[in-house]
Each structure stands twice: as structure tokens, then as C-alpha cells.
Symmetry: D2
Subunit: 340 residues, 4 copies
Amino acid sequence: MIIILAPSATDSDIDELVNNLKERGYGVHLSKGVEKTIVGVIGAHDDQKPVLAEQLSSLAYVERVVPILKPYKVVSREFKPEKTIVRVGGVDIGGQKVIVMAGPCSVENEQMTLEVAAAVKAAGASILRGGAFKPSTSPYSFQGLGEEGLKILATAREATGMPIITEVMDTRDVELVARYADILQIGTRNMTNFSLLREVGAVKKPVMLKRGMSSTIEEWLQAAEYIANRGNYDIILCERGIRTFETYTRNTFDVSSIPAVLELSHLPIVADPSHGTGLYKLVPPVARAAVAAGADGIMVEVHPHPEKALKDGAQSLTPQNFSLLMKDLAAVARAVGRYV
Amino acid sequence: MIIILAPSATDSDIDELVNNLKERGYGVHLSKGVEKTIVGVIGAHDDQKPVLAEQLSSLAYVERVVPILKPYKVVSREFKPEKTIVRVGGVDIGGQKVIVMAGPCSVENEQMTLEVAAAVKAAGASILRGGAFKPSTSPYSFQGLGEEGLKILATAREATGMPIITEVMDTRDVELVARYADILQIGTRNMTNFSLLREVGAVKKPVMLKRGMSSTIEEWLQAAEYIANRGNYDIILCERGIRTFETYTRNTFDVSSIPAVLELSHLPIVADPSHGTGLYKLVPPVARAAVAAGADGIMVEVHPHPEKALKDGAQSLTPQNFSLLMKDLAAVARAVGRYV
Amino acid sequence: MIIILAPSATDSDIDELVNNLKERGYGVHLSKGVEKTIVGVIGAHDDQKPVLAEQLSSLAYVERVVPILKPYKVVSREFKPEKTIVRVGGVDIGGQKVIVMAGPCSVENEQMTLEVAAAVKAAGASILRGGAFKPSTSPYSFQGLGEEGLKILATAREATGMPIITEVMDTRDVELVARYADILQIGTRNMTNFSLLREVGAVKKPVMLKRGMSSTIEEWLQAAEYIANRGNYDIILCERGIRTFETYTRNTFDVSSIPAVLELSHLPIVADPSHGTGLYKLVPPVARAAVAAGADGIMVEVHPHPEKALKDGAQSLTPQNFSLLMKDLAAVARAVGRYV
Amino acid sequence: MIIILAPSATDSDIDELVNNLKERGYGVHLSKGVEKTIVGVIGAHDDQKPVLAEQLSSLAYVERVVPILKPYKVVSREFKPEKTIVRVGGVDIGGQKVIVMAGPCSVENEQMTLEVAAAVKAAGASILRGGAFKPSTSPYSFQGLGEEGLKILATAREATGMPIITEVMDTRDVELVARYADILQIGTRNMTNFSLLREVGAVKKPVMLKRGMSSTIEEWLQAAEYIANRGNYDIILCERGIRTFETYTRNTFDVSSIPAVLELSHLPIVADPSHGTGLYKLVPPVARAAVAAGADGIMVEVHPHPEKALKDGAQSLTPQNFSLLMKDLAAVARAVGRYV
């Protein structure tokens, strides 16, 4: 940690600061320049750093505190240089194969779910997605079927052999969802629900952590650190678009976060172009872009009749369009030395 | 709801759409212009609208769906024209008096809490704030004292007579926090934790709902609607800054949201310049601005020794600075026909 | 244009509005619903619409004005369904071939420029880029060689046969830059410099219009309309990243704008991953993503010694890395049915 | 400047870096920590720093470069601790009096302009604003009367005695506009039009520099430095809202930028709540907030018939509402120890 002092800092301010830091057991490195005095702080522990930075910033003679180390550790590439592969039900996420997760936004009923599951499997999907608990901006919107939806997903897993991924939104439901699902999904609206992160960190099931729509890459990796910190290292990250001033798309899909995450972290990363764009016509080109940028997987919403979908119809592909997309993705994956 | 058709829409597309809507029981109003055909949909219920808009957007011959009605109801001014006053422990929030909530970011120990409580009360604060459960971006940061912190707050209430406000982060803690607190706070990171919103909606205690750092005013009011929808109408809104590209301040305090909310909703609104700016030097001018813009209250972090605070030291005022701020706020409140 | 009236609108308000509109010669379509009254305005000309919308919004009984038509015309797909191909010096931009524009950020001297030009040509680039007039955030930074730089670019064109693209920043320099350059570039900082847009609209040279870093897609197309409106239809759009809260990358490259623009407009679109990310390590994956998403070209900064570059060293590729990138792009282009 | 090395940096990398820096004449300060090696660079001149930072960032063994000094100088408080007062036609901007600039968005004709000028003067305005050259997002919108508009403004100055402020958009018009206007305005869309900044820096008339809608405070001050760098120190800054995801308001008025600028710079700062909000109902509360936060002035759009305004009707006040606002501002100014 480096402390840049204000021009108004006096010698006695500097003495006070240095003594204060030494008393707390830190090493101190003082550098008086012509225009600025800089103090290096050595030896702060992980759990002291954010607090220390805040405390020092409150001093009138401190201009700015610059952290040197990254605020996450276990999920960083420096901690573990080799890529993590998350294994679930015979599927490897993070390896050479680009994994496709597909299915309806919401589980609406058994028949539709089985129909979509069979269709996406036939087209080459590896994992079935579907929401039983749905986060809706409006209290008047469909909120999901709950446990009934989980049971339908389990039936679809038996019918197709595909592992299932579904969202959990409440700490009280973690145990229930973990009983049915193969991968627990943390949605964008709960990326900073730290109680929920801790709870899924204590479960023995892989977790897919979507990026918060207003989260920096650094904060996203800190959220992953919450999960890892409780002992669950089977974490998959998912870029799903961030909130910007652009209104044509529902979110702005941050394609550069894919190579950035792959450099900063050893965790696999999946892309969700359905929520990333909100427009079904943009899903195929953005899915291709994500694979070209190095994504380990793609998550896509598929619905047999988007115009009758109970949720997110505007961004759902028909099974026919999904099938075409799979062919496109196979070609792009080959171009970057992978396969679908 | 108005549907703007794509230029490519054929007559048979239009017939299909109109028949589809009529079959579902909606009134339909067709207007063929020279350049665009527009379809008005009449009679959709609150719980059908978001779904219907999504479904229609998935049709290739639909260019855009424009909602006409606001997506919230109970919290709107149209629903209840007169301002809501939330009464708690003898304090009226939303009336002529501008209410000041002050206290430490985190409850660190009993002595400090009692010291700050006495100081802010002496300076004119009406409500004591303090965190027992703390949302921290890093898993390695201080997470709060939990129930121990709630007990200390209760002791401070007894000592000073001030009602207390504190954050709840987990659905499982709502009952516990409600037992101690006078006002339950939903933090910015949980504004879209819909399970938590529903849970505090079922409690008989006022709730202060902070704006999500990436939430529009409309989404914020929809989150309030979640709480009201469960029967709890004692809701206070709190502007605390939104996330933008500006990095000098921690967040960008959206002062215009104050008059906007007062026009759109009957709920009282409080401003938090501490989190809104993240810099203690900016807290007084932004607090004055909020009162000048019509805020019903101000929430400020006060710490006897910010340089030793376990959280958010950089944005905390000393009791001395808080006392000066109270004098400033009194003058500004008078200028806009109110008092502190 | 559709006017949604406030709940407070009285019958006499409505009469006043309708008469006012009819007097101005517009057709009026009134629809009184249970909850809202809506007025459709028919027949407003392109040059009246923005003004009319502003005027109506100022009426106390108007809640909102919703435009129906897009605010640009000549550059829209509806106006010209077939894709535009911009031809320059034997190179077609917008056809099957993905065009690569490469070169140094700034023209620093003749030797370096010729060296880079030869290297990028050998690796497969079609157009040489290089800045003679440089927009710098700081007045103390390198501002470019001016006409001297233009001459060096012309020499490089002669040496390699590649057409050259360079930025123009001042209305007074348009004639000068057009004398040397094959394509005039409007940078992100000048996308809303409307005087400059008009000036390059009157020139007989293709123009590449970079997206403003805070411009929506709609505003970007309106800026293109400024150029087209003066008679210059040879316009190439260039996505170069937008400003968001993310600080890891210099900008957030909006990959979904590529398919969006291709749907909304007939103009070709090029991607600039160098400015889009600001980090040379992220340039190759984002360039691949752009081609996979349908970009008609890629613009990349190449410098023989980025650590000695007078500008934007952090985002420049070495000729070696550029050569590797060209191989990657060839593979991805093939995967989407194109070639490099 | 501080260089944080990547964990992969070898001893020979470090030697290379240190030698490279020493050869260029910089002082070097090396600090090898347990986890990170840090290199301090001493003695870089203002014009070398941005380039040097870019160059170093391109080295594979450099993780990050942290600048220590601010990238602006002449406009900073450190350079000139006492507040600048800009004097124009007997009006002091930056002193105890809060200056109000008012008038129509566009100069439409002489009669309307004289009418508004007389009305705003009677209500207490000090400076007349009005656009002769108008930046419009659409090429089909009103673009202003040009020199004819400047003449009308000059007539209004004679009639009322108020100095006039008007926008200049083109380097070729600077001399013309400076002949008529008392203050030259640089609009938000031209804050990064560096040619224009340099041009107004060479003129002997005060300049009001609006914040770019996507500019950080730091970039805004760098733009001011461009003007000062050419010898014109009579600069007034103007906060007018930044672009965010919020769509209810046209921009998000960043009230905290006012105290921030007053701390970082000696230049006076004015607030424009008309463009900051885009909604006439929000102009009075946001204007009050700006004065409470310390603004040296307010710029407001006033039109006798907003519903007939040729530009920005939605955000214009009637003369009656402006008169009420002046009373409000007088009360708030008094509350913060100033007057209107």
C-alpha cells in the first residue's frame, strides 16, 4: 500500500503517520520527492488492508491511498497458475470443449421443459438451464414454480442425461436447490448478496457466479473469493452484460471481460448473450464473439414459442435458431483451436 | 401498451397479431400510418404487462413495444396523492422537519457507540444509525458484530431515547433484526434481493430502502412496490449515489432523484451523502444540497476517530464536524421553509 | 409521435392540445383509455419532430412524448436495404473481405512509418493508419507532426500501395487532410463536433466516423446522417469502445453494436480493439470477437517498439504479434463465411 | 510515477528497466517487497509523463503504472491557492455574489430575445445567455441564426446593460463570436475539441467551459488547462450533468463535482440545471441544490412560451417561474453566507 501525502502535510504530520504505522507493526518506507511525499506500507495482512486504506484516507494530510496487491487471492492466477476445470455429471467446464448450456428462461411446465431439453440436447447442448426461482424487477411478474420447477428439471435430467443448472436467490433455499441441481447459479442481482455467497460457498456443488450488472471485474472476482473462502472452489464465472447508458440493448455485453478474467483468474468463464443483449437477433453474433474471445461456454435461452414465454421472450431463440447457432459456434470454436 | 410494427410487417402479420391479442381478451386499436403501423393494446392487467411486452418483442414483425403505464402502482403519487409520513418512536419522517440519522458506519463496541450516540443527539440528530451486519466487498473485511451489535444499539437507544436504524442482509435475520431495530435498512447491494424485499414487506416495522447503485428511479420504485405489495407501507427511500464512470467520488450522488421521487411517489426520501461521495470533505456540501433539493432527511456517518474506524473511515465525520454540519443544515432547511 | 397525457389533464387541456396541433397542420388521433389518454400526431416533418417533442414536453398536462420514427433516415436500412460498399484505392470496405487497417498510433518519423507500413502490408493489412493530428487529453502530450506527418503517410502509400487513413480534428484542416488522405477519420472526441461533420460531408473522400465514447448507437447514426446530409455517402462506422464504470479496460468495447448497426444501417462497420481495450494483450481476443460478430474490418495499432512509442504504447502490438493476429483473424473470418 | 512490476518480472527485467530509466535521465527508486517489486520514477517532466506511462505499460513485466502528480497544473489549487474571480462587464464571477445567467436556449428573433432579457434582468439575473450557433444531435433540427443571432444578443446587451454569453462551436467562428460576446461558451459536445480549446485560449475574452457529458473531473480540468496553457486564465467551469444509465432525467447532474472542483482548482464554477435535468420541474430544486453545494453561479434557460420554443422547450422556465426561482435562490444563498 502506498500513501501519497497532500502538499500541505507537515513534517510533524509525517512523523505522526510513520509512528502510527510502526506502532501497528507495519514496515514503513518514506520517500520525499520535490513535489510529493510518498509512504510505502509493508506487511499489512489481507484482512487489514481495506480498513487501513479507509482509515488513512480520513487523515487531512493524506491525498490518496494506492493499493498494490489485488483484493482477491484464492481465485487469482498468481495463486494457482493452471486453469481450473469444473467437472459436473461427466461434463468438463474449462477444458478444450466449449460447453453450451441451454433451456428456457423459466420452467413453465413439464411438457415444455422436456420438449426444449430434448431439442437442445439433439442440437448439441451439454447442460440444461431453467429457472425455478425467478428474480423479477416487478412484483407483479411471474416468480417461478419453486420446488415444483426443480422437480421438473430433475425429470428432464433423467430423460436427457444432461446435468442441470438453476438459480438460487434465498439463503433459506440453498439446501433445497442443491438437492436437485447440479450447478447452483447466482444471478446478477445477487452478486453482492454476501450472505448468499457464503451459503453456496459451504455447499458441495459447483456454483456459477454471474457478474453483477454494475460490478467491475475486480469486484466480481472478490465475490468469487467469498465462495472460495468458504471452501467451495468449483466456481464458474459468467459474463452477462453490464449496465451502461446504451438503451438499444438491455445490457452492454463486455466481451473484453472474457480474456481479462482468463488472465487474472484460473476460473472458467461462460458467456450469456441472451441477457447480455436482450434481443434474440443479437444472440447468435454475440455468442460467436464470446467463443472467439475465449469463452469456455455459452448459456442461451431457448423457448419453443418465444411469443408465449412467461419470461424473457424477447431474448429467447427458437429450437430451430438454436440449432443453427450450434453450427456457427462449432465453426468459430474450431477457428480458435477448440470444439463444441 | 403500444406496439410499433416493423416496416416489413405484412397485412397477414397484422391480422395474426390483432387476432392473437383479441383471443387473449385485450382491446385492440389499430392505426396504419404512412411510415409505421401502430397497435394499441387495451386492458392488460398489471401482472400480464411485462410478460406480454416480452412476448410481443419476440415477434419478427414487431419493432418495439412502448409501455404506457408506470410499472409500479401502490407507491405512486397517482395512487395516493398526499405525502406519506412514516412515524417511528415519536419521530415523523416526511413532515416539515428534516430528520437527521447519524452514527457510526459499524457498531464496533459499546463505549464508542454510546459516545457517538450522545454526541450526535447533542448536535440535534433524531435517529441513531449503526451497522451490526455489514456488507463488505471483500470477504477479508470486517463483517459486523451481528446480534451483539444489535444489543449495543438497543443500549444506545435506551441511553439517548433515539430510535435506531440498522441494516438487514439475510432473509433469515429479518425476524432477529426486527426485534431490536426501529427501522430496517435494505442496503444498495440488496435492493434487487427480492426474497429479502418480500420478507421485510411482511414485518411490522418501517423499512428504509436504499437505491441500488445501478438502479434507475423506476426500478427503485418497483423494489419499493415489492415491500408495499406484502402489506408494509412504511417505506422510506434513500438516495445514496449511483455508479458512473467518475472515479474521484466513490459514487455519483444523484441529487435530481430527490425531486423526481417526490413527484413520482408519495414516499419520503432521505439522502446519504457519506456513501454518495465516499469523501468526508464532500459530505457537508452534498448534505446541504440534498436538503435544498427537498430531502426529508439526511443520513450521515459519524465516528470519533475516523482514522481508527473499522469501516468507511474515509467518509466519516468527526462529532465536531457533524455539529458544524447541523448548523449549516438548519440554515438551508429554513431557506426552503423547513427546519432541522 | 405519440403524446401520453398526465392523469391531471382536463378535457379543456385536451381540446387545447388537439386544436393547437391541427392549427399547425398535423393529423391528430385521440384515444381515451381508462387510465391514460393518448394522442397520436401524424404528418410531422423530419425537421419539426425534435422541436415539436420538446415543445409538447413543456406542457404541464403532458406526461411523456414517444417518438415513433427513427431520428435518422439516409443512413438507415429502411432507406437503402442493400449494404453499402465503400471503395477506396482498390479496396472494398463492406464486402466479403474483412479489411484490416494497421499502423502506428502517431506518425513519429518517416523511417518508423515506412518500417511499420512494410511490416503490416507483408502480414496482410489493406490500409495504413497513422495519426498526423493527435487529440490528447493533456495539453502537455505529443500533438502530432501535422502536415509533415501527412507527407510521411503519402510517402508510405507510395512505397506500399496501401491507401491511408488519418484523423482530422479541425474544420480548417479538412481541405489539407483531404489532399493527402484516402479516408478521413473523425475521432471519438469529435463525433459531436457538428461543424466538423458538416465539413467532411462536403468533401469527396470517404469518412470513417468513430463512435463517441458516450454516444448511443442512435446518436452515432445521427452523426453519420450529418455527413450524408451534405452529400457524402461514403461513410464507414467504427466501434471503439464506450465509457463505463469498468476501469480495468480503458473503454468497454461494445461488441453487440456491430450486429446492431448492421441491422439498423446499410453502412459498413469496422472495429478498433486497440482503443476499445487500451491493453495490447486484449487486442487479439477482442479483434477475433469483432470479426465473429460480423465486423467489416479491424483497425489495429502496430508499433515496432511500443515501449518507445510517443503515444498509446500500452495498446500497440509489435509487428510480430500483429502477424500472429492476422492468422487468427483469417481463421475466424473463414468460420463466419468471409476472408481476410 | 510508480511502476508496479508483474510477479513474473525477473531480476534481469528489473535491471533492464532501471537502466532504461536512468539512461533517459530519471531518478529511480527500487523497492522489492515480499509479493511485489515497486519502482519509483523521479524527475519526469509534465510533457513526458503520459507518454512514459504508456510506454512502460507496454512492457510484459510491468503490471501497472500509477501516476502520482495530477495531470493539470496551472488550473490547480496547488498552483494558485486563492480563488480566481473572473470579471466581465462589471460582474464578478467567483466572489460572494452568486451570479445568475439566464435567457433563451436559442436566439429565435429580436423581439423574443429582448422580452426575455428584460424579464430576467428584472428578476435579478446578471448575465444574458442565448445560443446563436446551436449544437443539435439531429442535422434536421434548428441550428441557430449565426451572426444574425449575435447581433440580436448585442442589441439586448445595449438594452439591458447585461453582459452576454454565447456558444462557439467552430475554430473558424472564434474571432467572430469574440467580437460580439462577453463570455465565450464551450459546450459539452466540444469539451474534447482540442483545436477549439486552443483557439479560445488565444482570445482575450473569458471562456466558460462546460463539462463533457462523459468527462471525469480530472479530464475537465485538463481541458481547462488547454485554455490556460495558451495564456487565457479567465476560465469559468460549468457542471451540466453527465451521462449515466438513468433515463428519467436527460443527464445526471453531478452536484458533488461542485465542491470537488472548488477543492481541486481555483477556478469559479457555475451550474446548469436546465441541461443537467432536461425537465423544467426539476430545474428549481437542482438550482437550489447547486447553490447550497457552493456554486458560484447558475445558468438557466428561460422562454416566454416554452411550448413554442425552437429548442429545449422541455427544460425552459417561464419568466414567472424564473422569478420565483430567484427568490428561492436568494434564500439558499443567504443560508450559505452568500447573496444573489
